[in-house]
Symmetry: C2
Subunit: 213 residues, 2 copies
């Protein structure tokens, strides 16, 4: 196997070309607005399964773009997603990323309530944050379940849910719960997802918004 | 699809049980020492392909465990992997994780040399770090190529390479380059990998070392 000579600045462009070629080979046609997002998820995972399982609610990309443009904040359930999201571009629009998972207060509440730290941090975010909030969930299905429960109890309504937890216990069911609601969302059906996928979705939108037109 | 009732503390144990069951269904038998690592990679990706592509050099797990136990440092090529690695347990053994990617000095050197920041930060690590160093590469094939070039030029020898970059340009070839050397390594052959996978491999070893015997 030989190394291809590609200039540093060209690596990403070339990667997206290869992804496009392979999507065409597989005869997968993605809707124009969703395409940069699904392609960036494939770029971060090298997994073309995402082309089949990424699920967008009506006008999801427009709604998410508008929220970011208007300075919405993002709450995530892992410090890895927080590390991966391009906070510099987000800040240019006035937004900020929060992850409450490592806060001692969250561990205390989770232990008192017998719930996961992810669930406790969703409730915390719902109570503390005043701006419209995008939830980018890459790890804990219990975070999605907590958001669903608050919605059904009429106690809180997230502005947008990126529902891409990964795993084997309640992950698929929690994603399906979100898809039964009218919350605008991007969900990856099935077991797959992750903090990297959550960050890739946010970054894809940020890069589209920053693209020279 | 119904939600399963699982106590927060039980979620991870139950996930690993499901992974074990599915490996058995697929008739995949993993070597005992490699099993907790490959299973944690599957846990972080929900992708059983890793059971077929994770590649361990001779005694790789023992060598990596000994290095961590002796306080080796880790260098990674993304802040996401840095965020994902359990730095608390690593510190108990005397080790530290470094990621030089966001240092202004690295951007300057990369631009002067016409190389990627990942390659520049490998050279920087080779020069600056004095302890035995484990390289955990989850993103940039150019980081692996840089390590390979230094080894061939006899200018530097990494103690261990975790080679799991993800992507489409030179990723497979860079992994194969590492596999031609005598550096102890864990490599995921093919296009797949990622910062989450790099962190999962390190954490699997850390959790094994901390396991009550």
């Amino acid at each position: 196997m030989n190394l291809e000579t590609v200039l540093p600045a060209e690596i990403e462009r070339r990667s997206f070309e290869i992804i496009e070629e392979e999507l065409q080979k597989r005869k997968i046609v993605l809707p124009e607005k969703e395409k940069p997002i699904t392609k960036r998820v494939i770029h971060t995972s090298a997994d073309f399964d995402y082309a089949e399982t990424m699920t967008y609610s009506d006008s999801a990309v427009d709604i998410l773009s508008d929220l970011i443009r208007q300075g919405a904040d993002i709450v995530t359930d892992t410090n890895m997603a927080l590390a991966g999201i391009n906070k510099k571009i987000l800040a240019e629009f006035g937004g900020e990323v929060h992850c409450f998972m490592a806060e001692p207060e969250i561990a205390k509440r989770a232990s008192e309530q017998g719930c996961t730290r992810a669930a406790a941090s969703m409730e915390w975010a719902a109570k503390e944050l005043t701006k419209p909030t995008i939830f980018a969930i890459g790890n804990a299905p219990t975070a999605l379940i907590s958001l669903y429960d608050m919605l059904v109890a009429d106690s809180y309504r997230p502005a947008f849910v990126i529902g891409v937890p990964v795993g084997f216990v309640n992950v698929e069911a929690a994603k399906e719960l979100i898809l039964t609601t009218d919350i605008p969302s991007i969900v990856n059906r099935g077991r797959k997802g992750g903090s990297n996928v959550a960050a890739a979705i946010v970054n894809a939108v940020l890069y589209q918004l920053k693209r020279p037109s």
